[in-house]
């Protein structure tokens, strides 16, 4: 017999999620299968046109571009975040909580404020330009703000604290004697990292990567503010369908594909984590 207690304990949260998240989302997603009315609104006749339109090269390209930007942001965030987490975990134990606190500090400020801060930095008359000129650089600076790079930088910056936390967890749990055992058996420092430390901490990396990717690909604030008007990621496109183009069915169709991608990634990540932790015990 399985213990039913966990089920009772989970039910309030489950009810909340179902009532206020899942059902409204499903209702919106269902719109994807209806026709758009001529003057906006919805015409309740079944169609697959909206879904098909998502795969139209015009929109598929935006999907790919968004995935590219999100992927780049996730890779950069993981590299930077892992390095930071590694450094923190290597510090004396009693100093680690404070370092973590500082690493995560920006996370507690408002998302918009943090993003606007980057406008101040990257702006033509901004801090970076001022520093460059102050150092005696007279030439034309490359355009910094309203570029794809600015969006990537903004996304990395915003989600970095989470990656640090996600990578710190397995790194701090690592038995230092495991690295020593590897050295003892003849491995160099680099080989030890590649063959022991890295594989054991893969769950943290996977969590960090998927988190940044999923949040980035659907993000519409950062591309809108740092990418400028001409630049659209999939999040902006969805936003526009619901709020300006007034094409709810197509917005719903775009969202549906986006959610499918995210679900796929989260499943992969869960799988990777389980595999790495060796949780799938063989029955004997």
């Amino acid at each position: 017999m399985t213990d039913r207690k966990p089920l009772y304990l989970m039910s309030p949260a489950l009810a909340w999620l179902t009532g206020f998240m899942v059902i409204p989302c499903l209702l919106v997603l269902a719109l994807a299968f209806f026709r758009r009315g001529i003057y906006g609104g919805i015409e309740y006749t079944f169609t697959l046109e909206n879904i098909a339109l998502v795969f139209d090269p015009l929109y598929a390209r935006i999907f790919l571009k968004s995935a590219g930007i999100a992927g780049l942001a996730a890779v950069l965030a993981v590299i930077l975040g892992y390095a930071a987490a590694y450094a923190i975990a290597a510090m004396p134990r009693r100093r680690q909580p404070m370092l973590l606190f500082f690493a995560v500090l920006p996370f507690w400020s408002n998302y918009l404020v943090r993003t606007y801060a980057w406008i101040v930095l990257l702006n033509r008359e901004g801090l970076i330009a001022a520093v460059a000129h102050g150092l005696g650089y007279d030439g034309e600076l490359p355009k910094l703000l309203y570029t794809e790079s600015a969006v990537v930088v903004g996304l990395v910056y915003n989600y970095l604290p989470f990656v640090i936390l996600a990578c710190y967890a397995p790194l701090s749990r690592l038995n230092p004697e495991m690295s020593e055992a590897s050295r003892d058996l003849g491995a160099s420092g680099w080989t030890t990292f590649r063959r022991v430390v890295l594989p054991v901490t893969v769950p943290g990396i996977a969590t960090g990567f998927v988190f940044v990717f999923v949040l980035s690909i659907g993000n519409f604030v950062t591309p809108a503010l740092l990418g400028g008007g001409q630049f659209q990621m999939i999040g902006n496109l969805v936003y526009a369908q619901f709020l300006t183009a007034n094409d709810w069915p197509f917005g719903a169709a775009l969202s549906m594909v986006l959610i499918a991608i995210m679900m796929g990634l989260l499943t992969l990540q869960t799988f990777a984590t389980e595999r790495a932790s060796g949780a799938r015990r063989q029955e004997t």
Partner: protein
Amino acid sequence: MTQPLLSISNIDKHFGTLKAVDNVSLDIRENEFFALLGASGSGKTTLLRMLAGFEVPTGGAIYLDGKDVSAIPPNRRPVNLMFQSYALFPHMTVAQNIAYGLEMERLPRREIAARVEEMLGVIQLSQLAGRKPDQLSGGQRQRVALARALVKRPRLLLLDEPLGALDKKLRGEMQLELKRIQHEFGITFVVVTHDQEEALVMADRIAILRDGRLLQCGSPREIYETPQSRFAADFIGVMNFLPARVGGGVLLAQTGVPIAADLPEGLAEGAEAVAAVRPERLHLGQSGADNSLTGTIGAMAYHGLDLQLHLTTPLSPQPVMVRLTADAAEGRPLSIGDEVTVGWSARDTRVFPA
């Protein structure tokens, strides 16, 4: 005399003001099964970690085959360490764990496979080669950790409390198993333990550490029969201590009766001392004995081969333990409350400053 395999010369390790290892010198011979014995915190692991290369000595030097290895990093020393925590790689199977060290030597694939196979046979885990460490029992993990270090055929194998995590019965079996494996491979073992019985059973020679210092080093027999300090006498086996005092050039017990024994140098007239005698050196009656004491039987325990008595006597604040062979006890029915006299010879008495 041939050169020792390992020569530890006046080695120190200080952590701040703490002297974890304090001026220890030891020679360990090729093929020896050597035990480092000491209570928790006595510096056993620290000493072992210096031999493996994980700690740099604060002072002194380590010679392996006559060469100073103190500054050689762990991955370049022909020495392997089996960790107290085993430190198996959780993402690798048993076979991969064992193969790891051989891969680092860049041996041909086929040779690695053959040696892993052989090793799995030695530790009797061939069936479980594909399991991950968290699918193994404690005893199985311990074997994998041993195999992983042993497969490299090091000049010197260091084992930190290899049997510490096992239950009593398994420990007993593994003690003999370790000895067998050591003999079969002809590798020098240095085993750390805080269990004196284990050290006596397994080791060719034992070094006793206390607070980072080396107290005594010798064969189990030497250490058991001729402990050089009260601590060593107390730490190894069971020992009776009779409080005494030097008076008129001889040892006098609490009650004033003389105790026949060789007095060590440096015990001045009037100095406080203890006379130590092992329970099995006491026998019933006083015929032919240099010393004797009379006491009341406070407790008795029958152990199959022998009979243990606790005697309450004015000679000692603690009850005196007597271990009689079953044969010796045969002729004489004993029961609690009986008064008995036991005797022992001067040769079996050791005297230490109190």
